[in-house]
Symmetry: C2
């Protein structure tokens, strides 16, 4: 396993700056975001990561596939096909899917006047969307990576809340087409975590680490902390992921106002040190 | 099933006021809190609820049984024995257990300098505590009710995060001694919810309803809302609880600054109306 910088951890760096930062700190891989790729341009982004000799450990992100409105659902599928195309160009190890919350609830926004409370229906639409997208991804050599998000994000970001649930949704598809993300922030509390990591086995498409801060900040999206700053005991999780056969990159993806305000080079240096100190099994 | 007022919903009412309120609004049951019982006195509390002809649908709460320190663990057991004694006097249908979070982390407080990240160990201590407390409860005719809390409370309040986990912890004991709480706020997101409610069956010791607000307020403990004000679709959950055989009281327990600031009589009236409108299957 090898450490990878998810570029949102150093979100004030442009893509070229993040690529340079990885090289400067001796990292072999980077996790990219579509917004950042678009800012630099897809072709230029591909050129830069190849010239730097970096692996693209993931592209973030596709998803938001729970709308009950036919037109909106079709538009979401089309947007995801574009994301798959980009992941193919970048030769990303996977395209991360944040599947979306309750229909009509926008990420990070207050509840609107009307929205859907049919959680089971939203989950069914994710399965339908996967049936559309998995073959398309497969034809382009892209693996979709279903990311279970902490249940706190169930209303607005992801109706997939556990690793076991993500695995069950992936099983109808070849594992080259659909895998799952193990992100410590989202799954550390799960009483079935270790049994589900073993069950997931070679379906693990990405292992992402960051800590879970407590108490969470008012904007719960920013509750991700540097490893060692929160409540997670990483070593048993890393050991389980390794025992399941995962040998890919380990991405650090931190959404955190203080870390974003800090010198990105210091953040990357701390990230490397903490990875050795508290994450490695 | 019959509606019950958990007295924390009208927390500014004393126990006598809450008992009067239940009678005035035609409720047959009340859920009590130990703090409120202590304020009025145990004997007087018993007298008041009996005179009013109310069932005590639950006593809140025992728990906080995860300390790795032998002395603190023994003290916690002793405190829980006192709570069991009180539940017996009150003839409460169950004593709710909020089992405690990571050792050294205090409920609602920031992380201390030193605390335990051994989540598995904390969970083992809950099992050990149950083995001590269940026979004691059984001898006094008290049922312990394990409450899984939303994973957001895993660091500081409950290392039991799912209904399935609570059930598994209860299974070594007779169901007269250890049951589980289904609280919609805590479990609505769980992808295994319906299968686990069926599996829990007659182990359901209490069904509690309130809504899950989104976004949560800065103090996440106060994210509980009046039914209909949040994201939960109640009817399928109520139907599943009934299908599992539950015929006890349905408690409404809301921690919410606005509701606490409102006229308690209006809160109870709204609670009764919403129960009919959105909760009943």
């Amino acid at each position: 396993m090898s450490l990878s910088l998810n570029q949102w951890t150093t979100r004030h760096w442009t893509l070229p700056e993040a690529v340079d930062g990885c090289v400067r700190h001796g990292l072999e891989a980077i996790g990219l975001w579509r917004e950042k790729v678009a800012e630099t341009g897809l072709a230029q982004s591909v050129k830069l990561v190849r010239a730097a000799g970096l692996r693209v450990s993931s592209l973030c992100r596709g998803g938001f596939l729970t709308s009950g409105d036919g037109t909106a659902f079709a538009q979401a599928l089309e947007e995801n096909r574009r994301a798959i195309d980009e992941a193919a160009e970048l030769e990303a190890a996977c395209l991360v899917l944040v599947v979306g919350g309750l229909p009509g609830v926008q990420p990070g926004e207050p509840l609107p006047g009307a929205f859907g409370r049919d959680l089971a229906g939203a989950r069914e639409r994710v399965a339908e969307a996967l049936a559309e997208l998995a073959p398309y991804a497969g034809e382009r050599g892209v693996k979709l990576a279903l990311e279970p998000l902490h249940p706190i994000y169930c209303p607005d970001r992801a109706v997939i809340s556990t690793l076991g649930q993500a695995l069950d949704l992936s099983l109808p598809f070849p594992e080259e087409q659909v895998g799952v993300v193990v992100d410590t922030f989202h799954v550390w509390w799960d009483p079935r975590l270790f049994e589900d990591i073993a069950r997931v086995g070679s379906r693990i498409a990405s292992y992402q680490v960051c800590d879970y801060l407590h108490p969470l900040p008012a904007d719960v999206l920013l509750g991700r902390g540097m490893m060692g700053d929160g409540v997670i005991g990483f070593r048993p999780i890393t050991a389980a992921v390794q025992a399941a056969g995962y040998g890919g990159d380990v991405e650090v993806e931190i959404f955190n106002a203080e870390i974003w305000a800090a010198d990105p080079d210091e953040v990357v240096a701390t990230m490397k040190a903490r990875y050795e100190e508290v994450v490695l099994a």
